[in-house]
């Protein structure tokens, strides 16, 4: 028998780490006209981390616990990501009911596949939002939100002066950081990126909307994301 110099005691202290965008933030209520989403009221039911209080668990830790079936960890994960997830999907789909459906699909996928998340390849936030964005865009392209994809409107939308695009109930550090970083992109890079990300346009559709060659669109998308990456200080 191996010599026992120590004991297996109780679980050691949880490391408190923040990775990526998991700081608590002020939840925002649904803003009005530019969502066109009457009837969806903010929910007082879901608890959110209070401002100034560090997250007890990082998303990566929660995913690890979810992967072995811990439902409580999944509840915490939900509370941590749901507002941002719903906000992103809603902005892409523009339809609250469909946005809820897509969020549910995404979260079920997270539950099912949490074991596939490899922390060496990137942050939990990136993994989750990559899944989410793909699903949102697939839904858009399946015609479910065809009306919202009218091209002229889309172009007008991304060309709107930036501070008009969304109301803020309160500024957050992270929102300001992304705002400032987007200003590092050229107007053309930013349009290409935003038409793709927020409107779910394919690169050919973006080329048509912007009236430039496909190769140019691809370069702008790539260069725009590279600038965003460098500005945000994204390691992976």
């Amino acid at each position: 028998m191996p010599a026992a110099a120590g004991t297996l005691g109780a679980a050691s202290t949880i490391e408190v780490t923040e990775i990526g965008g998991n700081r608590p933030r002020f939840p925002r209520t649904l803003s009005s006209a530019d969502r066109g989403a009457a009837g969806v009221s903010p929910s007082p039911g879901a608890p959110s981390p209070s401002p100034g209080q560090p997250d007890a668990d990082s998303l990566e830790e929660l995913l690890a616990r979810v992967s072995v079936g811990e439902e409580r960890a999944f509840e915490r994960l939900y509370d941590l990501v749901a507002p941002r997830l719903f906000g992103m999907v809603l902005r892409v789909l523009r339809d609250p009911a469909q946005s809820e459906e897509v969020c549910q699909e995404v979260l079920l996928e997270v539950w099912r596949d949490a074991g596939r998340f490899d922390p060496r390849l990137g942050s939990g936030t990136t993994w989750l939002f990559t899944l989410a964005h793909r699903r949102a865009v697939d839904r858009v392209r399946s015609g479910a939100a065809a009306a919202a994809r009218e091209e002229r409107a889309a172009l007008a939308d991304v060309r709107r002066p930036h501070d008009e695009v969304a109301e803020q109930v309160s500024a957050t550090l992270e929102r300001e950081a992304v705002d400032q970083c987007l200003e590092q992109l050229t107007r053309l890079q930013r349009e290409a990126v935003e038409l793709a990300y927020w409107r779910g346009f394919t690169h050919r559709e973006v080329a048509r909307v912007l009236d430039v060659p496909l190769g140019t669109v691809k370069s702008r998308m790539r260069d725009g994301l590279v600038r965003l990456r460098d500005c945000l200080g994204v390691a992976r």
Binding site: A11, S43, E71, C181, M221
Partner: protein, 251 residues
């Protein structure tokens, strides 16, 4: 696609490539180390755009989702071989050494092990190759062997204290260990393998986990009497610092 497949990396990261182009780019990606490095970073930058938009969904979404997960099975983890996720521990309190010894006495793995070595599987004998590519196949074969062995001969598995099982197969001087269903460990800890002889435990390295399963293949020392596993710092220990979570005696 153009002559410059790399330039599609941005469109790919933005989900702006339709089905056909996406498949084509993914084929390119499989063989392009530059893109393999770039794409995760570009995806992270794209995910950063989502930082803006935070809208609290209705409470009904939360209850629907939580209800749904209780009916939803989870897939076996298939993170890249060698991935070591950070895990929380749900380990039970330390067992009495006597309990572990009792466990060991109860195991008749060595008999099973001797029998297993003579079983010829369809397709040839079991290979103990250590290449990562072959681990899954090796594990599948071990499971086949274990499935063939009747319970009366003794378990081909040893329980792991805290959760999970370890299966052991010995052939000559080599050992193949398969573990399944391991409890998560605290950050900075890992499972370490040992071979035991009269001189004590000799390290056989950190068990590489693939989710909560793992496979280890290593050689014995002369006069080896058992194979054991303990929880150690993730960087490994020169000798065990904790009680073993599993001990498998050998013939």
């Amino acid at each position: 696609m153009s002559d410059e497949p790399h330039v599609s990396a941005g469109a790919y990261a933005l989900d702006a490539l339709p089905e056909e182009d996406r498949a084509e780019f993914e084929e390119h990606l499989a063989g392009c180390p530059v893109c393999q490095q770039d794409v995760p970073q570009l995806r992270a930058a794209a995910a950063g755009l989502a930082a803006f938009e935070e809208v609290t969904p209705p409470a009904s979404l939360r209850s629907r989702v939580l209800a749904a997960i209780s009916r939803t099975p989870q897939l076996q983890p298939t993170a890249a071989p060698g991935a070591r996720g950070r895990r929380r521990a749900v380990l039970a309190a330390r067992s009495d050494p006597a309990q572990v010894a009792e466990l060991a006495r109860g195991l008749r793995v060595w008999r099973v092990v001797a029998a297993a070595a003579t079983i010829a599987l369809a397709g040839g004998s079991i290979a103990f190759a250590v290449q990562q590519r072959q681990l899954d196949r090796t594990r599948a074969r071990l499971e086949q062997v274990q499935a063939l062995l009747p319970d009366a001969d003794g378990a081909a598995h040893a329980p792991v204290r805290g959760g999970g099982t370890a299966g052991v197969l010995v052939s000559g001087n080599r050992v193949l260990v398969t573990v399944r269903g391991l409890p998560p460990l605290p950050a900075g800890r890992a499972y370490q393998m040992w071979v035991i002889n009269a001189s004590g435990p000799t390290s056989r390295g950190i068990l590489v986990l693939d989710g909560n399963s793992g496979t280890a293949d290593f050689s014995l020392v002369s006069g080896a009497t058992a194979v054991a596993m303990s929880v150690e710092p993730a960087t490994g220990s020169t000798s065990p610092t904790t009680e073993p979570v599993t001990v498998v005696p050998l013939a």
